[in-house]
Amino acid sequence: MARLYRAALTLLLLLCGCAKEQDNAIHIGVIAELTGDIPAVGASCKNAAEMAVKTVNDMGGIDIGGKKYVVKTQIEDSAGRADQAASAALKLITRDKVIAIIGPNASSGAIPASEIAETSKIPMISPWSTNPKTTIDPKTGKQKSYVFRACYMDSFQGRVLAAFALGQLKAKRAAVLYDVASEVLKGQAEVFKQTFEEKGGTITGFETYTTGNKDFSVQMTKLKNGSPDLILLPTYYSDVPLQVEQARRLGITVPILGSDAWASHDLLGLCGNNCEGAFFSSHFCSSSTAPGVKKFVDDYNALYGSVPDDVAALTYDSFGILFEAMKRAAKPASEDIKTAIQKINGFQGVTGNITFHEGSGDPEKSVVILQIKDGDFRWFSDIKP
């Protein structure tokens, strides 16, 4: 009898415990591209999300308005598709009652998901989406008030690259080769051209190709003919090695500059020694010696056995921004969290200092310029806006 009584008491306590924990938990939804075309992106996002949440929970949870809360995440797969991203957002908001969403990463999914977040008044932070339409409503041209991103936009990157080419590389004449089939890369090339010319530089060649081309010798010969001081290649990392090799074979020795599309460690293996000395802009530098970055890279490496890429770093910062905003909020409600995110100023993330301005979901942050040196990505400089 006594035994039964004790068991019943334990059960009761357990139930109370569960109920109490439920009361103390806040739910955050994550939408990642776990399957589909870019599973590597989804995997990095999931890893970083789990790590960020574990770090906070290990410290006893998050303090909102004087009360400790345990963070719980619900990870949904968008399969890299627009429709599935939208239904994942809807599911997280209506069924799981999340108070904020991190993701999706790819703009194709982030744009439809952002519409749902906006109408449901749930804050959403996309770590990696660089398309303007994610935070701006294309119909009205107005900023969405519940949607944020942790990265900078393509137009900003194009401007920074132009400033870097003119300022630090002292280039007066630049030539550009880009993939015309990619909206992102086309945008980077066009903004670079515009800014470079506005600031007094000359564009000596502006050549294109389409995804899948391997022979760039005709375009490179054309670019060489304009005798530029610099070549800009806003192209995907799998095309970069061929372009650089063909340029070098034609005797082009000028510096080569790339964009964030280069940021995959596979580039180093594909390039051999050819890319040595080239520069590119990126969101994140894993070999940075800044204390926060080193700890993040070491912890990530210890957990998953690999170096975090820019998606992982941006996801980690998205959670950082969200947690920081929650700490400042008076209560765990979506409205309060949204207002707190808008007031984030100088948040020290692993991808740099992040500041939001009232009425805009796009952060102000610095761009990292990396150089390929001794077969690795090395930090070269930070460019502030």
């Binding site: 391997k214 063909q246 594909l270």
Partner: protein, 291 residues
């Protein structure tokens, strides 16, 4: 001047690779009237064999190129034996669908083994020579020289040897030939071996010139080489060589004269116009000498 010469060299390099691949299409068509759509994928397999032989086994250049050619030839003959021979009497459409299916099979088989792009290490150390602003790389010269050598060799085999005359006879009349004591199956296998072997060599040359390879690399190149074969006159060996050079030239000139975005668009428009006026291709006059 140096600029024009430079673009002319680019043209020769591209044209000779197209020509070598186009030969594979044209030989098979000449003998069996079959368009072997898997040929572009045999080319891709050649490039991957080159990658394996050079980066994993560290073999010297001439063995790498022989291994790629032999591997692709064996695969070509196997495909013929297993997929095309049973359909030799079937309607042509079935054979063409089979060829497409074999192509997709080879692509996806490679994709399952190695889904990511691979970097082929430098097979021969590249030396660039500079003459008054004109840069000639040793790789470019080797590619053009090797192509010319292979084409001359093939032309000799087809025109001067017993095997060559058997191939030509086969393209005239497949039913009568066995009565003359010619082993038809062996000659067909030989044709596939030579065509696929050329594809393997082209894959190696391509991997030397453009050293990042992936399982889908054969599709676009295969189409272009097929078009080169049709322009030259499918079934005609000299036509394939000519067609490859013409396609390389048109593509280069289109990209030089106009923004490079229009490259393929202009090139293919010109080829379509050419075919309207010469539907059999340039050298493909009906009832002419075929392989």
């Amino acid at each position: 001047m140096a600029y024009i010469a430079q673009q002319f060299l680019n043209m020769l390099q591209l044209g000779s690779i197209y020509a070598i691949i186009a030969l594979g299409y044209t030989m098979v068509y000449g003998v069996l009237s079959l368009i072997n759509f898997a040929h572009g994928d045999l080319f891709m397999v050649g490039a991957f064999l080159c990658f394996l032989a050079s980066s994993k086994l560290h073999l010297p250049f001439y063995i790498v190129i022989l291994a790629a050619a032999a591997g692709a030839a064996v695969l070509g003959v196997t495909v013929e034996r297993l997929a095309y021979r049973p359909l030799r009497e079937a309607p042509k459409v079935s054979a063409i669908i089979t060829a497409l299916g074999v192509g997709v099979f080879i692509e996806n088989f490679t994709l399952a083994l190695s889904p990511y792009p691979r970097h082929v290490p430098e097979l021969l150390h590249n030396i660039s020579y500079n003459f008054n602003g004109l840069t000639i790389s040793s790789i470019q010269m080797i590619i053009v020289a090797l192509s010319v050598l292979l084409m001359a060799g093939l032309d000799f085999i087809v025109r001067k040897t017993r095997y060559g005359s058997a191939m030509r006879a086969l393209s005239w009349d497949m039913r009568t030939l066995p009565l003359m004591g010619v082993p038809v199956n062996a000659i067909v296998a030989l044709t596939f071996a030579i065509g696929a072997g050329f594809g393997g060599v082209a894959g190696t040359m391509y991997a030397m010139a453009f050293p990042v390879i992936d399982p889908y690399m054969g599709i676009m190149i295969g189409w272009k080489a097929f078009i080169a074969a049709v322009v030259g006159g499918i079934g005609s060996i000299r036509g394939a060589m000519l067609g490859g050079c013409i396609l390389g030239a048109v593509e280069t000139i289109a990209a030089v004269a106009l923004p490079s975005t229009y490259r393929d668009f202009i090139a293919f428009t010109l080829l379509l116009i050419l075919l309207i006026f010469r539907p059999n291709g340039i050298l493909g006059v009906p009832k002419t000498l075929k392989v």
